[in-house]
């Protein structure tokens, strides 16, 4: 089981790399440098000569190859989880990740063939983050720390804060994707003020999207600090929560700095991509904190659900029903 967890972590890391490669494609404006799909300039994708990986093709073709690799790794993850994992919901999660990565590939192809229509490109960016979350959840729930016997948290405020924070972060990522794929990244070219004012003196759809992303950033920072303070004040005895909350604060501080630098640098591709990748890390850390805060609640409900789904699937499950806190959920 530990190897499944390690493998899931490998898939998470590969997904971060894939998000970085996708970020470079958009940031360098290379999304249409390979006009065909699934072929590459008529070549079978995997036999496209390396000496032709020039200019924007380097970014787009690398993105496709990394995506194919992640897709292959996800097939193995889904099958492996299905074969060795006793929890039905985790097995289903493995196949949800597989479905997400297949849909993601199709969206990627469709956005190339349809010349990057904003809704499909935004959907592609949004689904990338959901797929990342799925792989992260799989890595988390197959980890030994998830199954470790711990006193329950029973902090309704933390659960609410963490859940709202995660939803805020994902909403903010969708706003950012909308900004990138509608060309609104420099709609407000000054930072921190908007054209020298707190509120933009002129408005257009692009300025509105850009400004909403800035306001969203403030909301996210506020939500993350509220959640982190809740952890630091009331759960100092839980190093797993404190560590995740601290990491989350560090990520969001980096994210705000990178966001400012994106504007100041005039959309430098490297900084822009770092902002996208770090955004995924903010979402990931927030999600892990949320799931850990809900873990003890899920013991009862999931074990009960497992019992309904499969009957008494194993001796372990019978024991876990007697002692939910010690169950692998």
């Amino acid at each position: 089981m530990i190897w499944l967890h390690r493998y899931a972590k490998l898939v998470v890391a590969s997904t971060v790399l894939l998000i970085a490669a996708g970020g470079m494609v958009t940031s360098t404006g290379s999304g249409l440098s390979v006009p065909d799909w699934p072929n590459t300039y008529g070549w079978f994708m995997f036999s496209f000569p390396m000496d032709k990986w020039v200019g924007g093709i380097l970014y787009e073709h690398s993105h496709r190859l990394i995506a194919s690799t992640v897709g292959f790794l996800t097939v193995i993850l889904a099958i492996w989880t299905w074969r060795v994992e006793p929890r039905a919901w985790v097995r289903r999660l493995g196949f949800a990740a597989l479905g997400a990565v297949i849909l993601q590939g199709l969206l990627g192809g469709l956005t190339v063939l349809l010349l990057l229509p904003a809704p499909i490109s935004i959907g592609h960016a949004g689904l990338a983050q959901l797929f990342f979350c799925l792989t992260l959840v799989l890595a988390l729930v197959t980890s030994p720390s998830w199954s470790a016997d711990r006193p329950p948290i029973n902090d309704h405020a933390l659960r609410a804060f963490a859940t709202v924070t995660t939803l805020f972060v994902y909403g903010q990522i969708l706003l950012g994707a909308t900004m990138r794929h509608t060309g609104a990244g420099m709609a407000i070219p000054t930072f921190p003020l908007a054209f020298g004012h707190v509120l933009p003196p002129v408005w257009s759809p692009a300025i509105a999207i850009h400004f909403a992303h800035r306001v969203g950033a403030l909301c996210v920072v506020l939500a993350i600090f509220t959640t982190a303070i809740q952890v630091w004040r009331h759960h100092r005895d839980r190093p797993d929560l404190v560590r995740t909350a601290t990491l989350l604060v560090l990520f969001v501080c980096s994210q705000a700095t990178l966001g400012a630098l994106v504007v100041i640098s005039g959309l430098s591709p490297v900084i822009n991509t770092a902002h996208v990748v770090n955004g995924a890390l903010v979402l990931g850390a927030s999600l892990v904190l949320t799931l850990r805060s809900w873990r003890d609640v899920s013991v009862h409900s999931v074990v009960a659900g497992e019992h309904r789904d499969t009957g008494t699937r194993s001796g372990d499950m019978k024991r876990s029903l007697r002692d939910p806190r010690g169950a692998r959920v």
Partner: protein, 259 residues
């Protein structure tokens, strides 16, 4: 159950949409409308002139071609963007055209294609005109890959790969549009601008900013000059039968007109 039945239909619809969007050619415009007027060239005049630039002209930034070793080799002395081409005070690569006033004239669409080449990792020419319905032949003279990506607002957008030297693709724009930007997403410095016109009265300034519009029928016209960085300027010109007139457009980069 109904949703399941719809899934194959939706997949086929998406596939058809994708195929339709990747079609090479668009339909040409239809023939002359009834009661269309034809220009009598024996009574037509000429409109010529010059586009000048006043004040300091921004310098063209250098192009970084390190992303493609072939382009680097083909431009051993480096290359600059072609935003501002000034010769003896005249501004070149300006698209000058009759914007308004031609009324109900009908003009035959030329059968000869207009050529746009990709050479030494540049579009050549940088600015050109083509008639709606006329074939635009785009070729690749380079031993590297290019993609030809047209980004019109009125016509349909398309993107075509040309991975091999000597490849030629033929495209047709169906509607008037000033201007259609072209780019290569492989080499992000490559840009061209194509003016799509529904009449033959357009020219691109060359040789010190000069231009000439021949065989223009008598009438009052709005003539516009378009530049990729300096925007547009327009003038109203009245031309009599067999008359030749000269007009001058002057762009000032600091207080440039905008499109």
């Amino acid at each position: 159950m109904r949703m399941n039945a719809l899934r194959p239909t939706a997949a086929v619809a998406i596939l058809c949409l994708a195929v339709a969007c990747s079609q090479d050619k668009q339909a040409a415009p239809s023939g002359p409308p009834p009661n269309a007027k034809v220009v009598d060239e024996s009574k037509a005049g000429n409109l010529s002139g010059r586009v000048t630039v006043e004040g300091a002209v921004p310098s063209n930034p250098p192009i970084k071609m390190s992303a493609d070793p072939y382009c680097l080799r083909e431009n051993p002395n480096g290359a600059m963007f072609e935003n501002f081409v000034v010769n003896n005070g005249g501004l070149e690569n300006v698209f000058v055209y009759v914007k308004d006033g031609l009324g109900g004239y009908y003009f035959e669409v030329p059968t000869q294609p207009v050529k746009l080449d990709q050479k030494r990792c540049h579009y050549s020419p940088h600015v050109l005109g083509v008639r709606a319905g006329q074939t635009l032949a785009i070729s690749n003279s380079d031993e590297t890959l290019h993609n030809v990506h047209a980004l019109p607002d009125v016509n349909s957008e398309w993107n075509k790969g040309q991975p091999l030297k000597s490849m030629v693709d033929e495209k047709i724009f169906t509607a008037r549009e000033v201007m259609v930007p072209f780019k290569c997403d492989v080499h992000n410095w490559m840009q061209a601008f194509v003016g799509v016109m529904d009449h033959p009265y357009y020219a691109i300034t060359r040789d010190g900013g000069t231009f000439e519009l021949k065989h223009v029928p008598a009438g009052t016209y709005t003539v516009e000059a378009w530049h990729e960085k300096l925007g547009t300027q327009a003038q109203t010109v009245t031309l009599g039968e067999k008359e030749s007139k000269e007009i001058t457009f002057t762009f000032k980069p600091s207080g440039a007109a905008t499109k």
